[in-house]
């Protein structure tokens, strides 16, 4: 178990829980940061912070201290998906159903 801010760019994790004030937590959950959601660190801002995360088909930027309060666990299946996604970005190759689901953020690791 680790926190979101520890993900390197390109890595994915599965959201466990949020350790933030309730209002913030609610806001983030309504933006898709719910338990078992797959999160991918997409890129860092040019200054190194905040970081853009892909979740639920959206791109959301969070500062490091916020991301540090979001617990994630290693994404086993999603890890592979993350690599595939990275590969598909490079090759622009044919997309499997897996990839399109992962890319659209509909994937729920728990199921």
């Amino acid at each position: 178990m680790s926190v979101l801010s520890q993900l390197n760019v390109g890595e994915s994790g599965v959201l466990e829980d949020l350790d933030l004030p309730e209002s913030v937590q609610n806001h983030l959950m309504h933006m898709g940061f719910v338990p078992n959601a797959l999160v991918t660190a997409l890129r860092r801002a040019p200054a190194g912070d905040p970081t853009v995360y892909a979740i639920d088909g959206m791109e959301i930027a969070l500062r490091r201290e916020t991301a540090a309060a979001i617990h994630v666990r290693a994404a086993e299946v999603p890890e592979a998906v993350g690599q595939k996604e990275a590969a598909s970005q490079k090759t622009e190759g044919q997309k499997t159903e897996d990839q399109r689901i992962a890319a659209s953020g509909q994937f729920e690791a728990a199921q």
Binding site: H30, G32, P46, A47, P50, S104
Partner: protein, 637 residues
């Protein structure tokens, strides 16, 4: 989009009945769901913007002329993710939906807009909205895009799950809009129908799993995420190109304001003067003519003249915002902004303030944290707006020698001008820092920024935005300007004197009420190196900074001793070098702008903040001008 939006999934049509009770419809939806585009399409230009009473949440209302229902009022609620009452926006939405918002009629029907590209997440708002029990039409916006990109949804199943009619629409190109008047026509029949029982969703997690279930049961397939946006971001958020392009954008705003906007405003100002001159013979000479032309029209023109620049700036920023770049700019600026206690979202208003603080303060609406927003509003007038330029230019030309350094590459005059810009910028940052570490210290509100997909801005939404902003600017600033102008004119013409011939005449300026006011405040400004005439200029510049220039022109023009001199030469009678530099720094810091005061009053919904801001900026201006004047005297200037 062929046909996809043409068949709204309705329950079996009922015989139409006159919908007599239907008066008010509310539009609700999450941010970035295309709600504003839809609102504009439904109302056309027949809309008005105000604040909900007692809060700083913007209220838009309009007649639904876009669907031929001028008899219906559409209320646009703020873009929200949920009805959790922790945010002001959501609290306002709940009160409006319940019909408890003072001054807002109880809604009879609801249009719920959702972005069908991200339907699962957007559905989280559907349960609490439908649970309010009002007749609701669910609009799946951007369905054309969704289907183009391989997504799909069974709208009939969704209608059954939600117990409400569902229509696929495209607000951008108008597809599927026919469902809306149909719903409005039919809803009275449905009002008696028992809505389906929806689960009570205690928290966000259960709302999300409910939404996920619904989207599974309705065969929702999310479209492929677009590679295009990520590719563009690979450049625009690149470690090196990103900040460079960001700088290009910042410089671009300056370029627009100076190189294109200034001549436009000058030309427009010329036209306004000519209109006044053309109207002069049409008016009876005497005090009526003077009041209308020298008082009201001059004052109104002094504000109208900024309209081209302001609209240009709004066009520029509108393109950036509609395309999705502004979110990226906020992301890039966040690191710098946080060092003064604000976040990236405060950057855009500060940038626009180089043109004019009024639209900049209106642009602070994108900052969710109320304290951050207030801090941004309070520091924005420090940024060097275009109205300071005429004053700076006059004083620099009159008092700063034209010396060049570095083989003519850098002039002393340019240096002085740049230092004035820098002074305003530093004052803004310092004040923000001060505010954020004292009275506006907020519990660490995290920076959560959604990066929407890039879109091509549409001409329609850009022009609507311009018309909208022009109208707000003219109406809100106009009222105050008109009132203050009239008061100033009256003060300059009182007391009325009887001439020997029995007619009435205005007094000499020094003898007028405003002249006496100038003498009255002289002791307060004498330490800064200003005399009573400069004092009158300062008083008149409270209206708007550039009025100072025309006031001084009038003063010297009516005085036989300085009549023959140019304005620059004449100023030497009243200002030393120390006084001139002090006057410039005074203008850099003081909040002499009734339009700004009016807009701060409107945006903060109280007189407290504009008063605090005015006093603070005045005090800072006085101290800085005092220091500059005395420093120059000490060095024998």
């Amino acid at each position: 989009m062929s046909g996809c939006c043409a068949s709204p999934a309705f329950e079996p049509p009922q015989p139409p009945q006159p919908s007599g009770q239907l008066r008010t419809v509310v539009l609700i939806g999450p941010p970035n769901s295309g709600k504003s585009t839809l609102f504009n399409r439904l109302t056309g230009l027949r809309q008005k913007v105000a604040n909900f009473p007692g809060v700083t949440v913007e209220q838009r209302m309009g007649q639904m002329a876009g669907v031929g229902r001028e008899d219906l009022t559409l209320i646009d609620l703020p873009g929200i993710y949920s009805l959790d009452p922790y945010s002001e926006d959501a609290r306002v939405s709940i009160e409006v939906l319940r019909g408890q918002m003072a001054g807002t009629p109880k809604p009879d029907a609801v249009l719920l807009v959702m972005d069908s590209l991200h339907l699962t997440r957007q559905l989280m708002l559907a349960a609490p909205v439908l649970a309010m029990g009002l007749p609701t039409l669910v609009l799946l916006n951007m369905s054309d895009l969704m289907e183009e990109r391989g997504g799909s949804i069974d709208a009939l199943k969704l209608a059954r799950e939600l117990g409400a009619p569902v229509a696929k629409i495209s607000a951008v190109n108008g597809g599927g809009m026919g469902a809306i008047p149909l719903f409005l026509h039919q809803h009275t029949d449905r009002a008696g129908a028992q809505p389906l029982t929806l689960p009570i969703l205690g928290n966000a997690a259960s709302a999300h799993s409910w939404a996920a279930q619904i989207s599974r049961r309705t065969d929702y397939r999310a479209p492929l995420s677009v590679e295009g946006t990520r590719k563009i971001d690979n450049v625009l958020l690149h470690r090196i190109w990103g900040p460079l392009l960001f700088l290009v954008v910042v410089v671009g705003v300056f370029e627009v304001v100076f190189s294109i906007g200034q001549p436009l405003s000058d030309g427009f100002g010329g036209i306004l003067v000519r209109i006044g001159e053309l109207a002069r013979p049409l008016l009876p000479s005497g005090w009526v003519q003077s009041l209308i032309l020298d008082g009201a029209w001059k004052g109104i023109s002094s504000v109208l003249v900024f309209l081209p620049q302001i609209l240009l700036l709004f066009l520029f920023i509108g393109v950036l915002e509609d395309s999705g770049y502004l979110s990226r700019a906020a992301l890039i600026a966040d690191r710098g902004m946080r060092s003064i206690g604000l976040n990236g979202k405060a950057f855009i208003p500060l940038l626009s303030a180089y043109a004019c603080a009024v639209p900049a303060i209106m642009a602070t609406r994108t900052i969710e944290n109320k304290r951050d927003r207030l801090a941004t509003i309070l520091v924005t007038p420090f940024m060097t707006c275009s109205a300071r330029l005429p004053v700076y230019m006059l004083l620099i030309a009159a008092f700063v020698p034209n010396i060049n350094y570095l083989h003519g590459f850098l002039g002393l005059r340019t240096l002085v001008m740049l230092s004035l810009y820098l002074a305003g910028f530093v004052a803004a940052l310092g004040t923000a820092r001060l505010l954020k570490s004292s009275i506006l210290k907020s519990s660490e509100t995290p920076f959560i920024l959604e990066l929407p997909q890039y879109r091509m801005p549409t001409l329609r939404s850009l022009s609507l935005r311009l018309v909208d902003r022009a109208r707000i600017f003219l109406r809100n600033a106009g009222r105050v300007i008109l009132a203050v102008t009239l008061v100033l004119w009256v003060l300059a013409h009182l007391p009325v004197l009887h001439t020997a011939s029995g007619s009435y005449a205005a007094p000499q300026l020094a003898e007028s009420v405003i002249g006496r006011l100038g003498h009255f405040i002289e002791p307060a400004i004498a330490p800064l190196g200003f005399n009573w005439k400069i004092g009158i200029g300062l008083l008149s510049s409270v209206l708007a900074r550039e009025v100072m220039v025309s006031t001084m022109g009038t003063l010297y023009g009516s005085d036989p001793g300085t009549q023959a001199l140019s304005l620059q030469t004449a100023l030497h009678h009243d200002l030393s070098l120390g006084g001139a530099l002090a006057l410039m720094i005074f203008f850099a810091f003081a909040m002499q702008c009734t339009s700004t005061i009016a807009v701060v009053r409107r945006e903060t919904n109280s007189w407290k903040w504009p008063v605090v801001q005015f006093v603070y900026m005045l005090a800072l201006a006085w101290v800085a001008a005092f220091a500059v004047n005395h420093a120059v005297m000490a060095f024998g200037g």
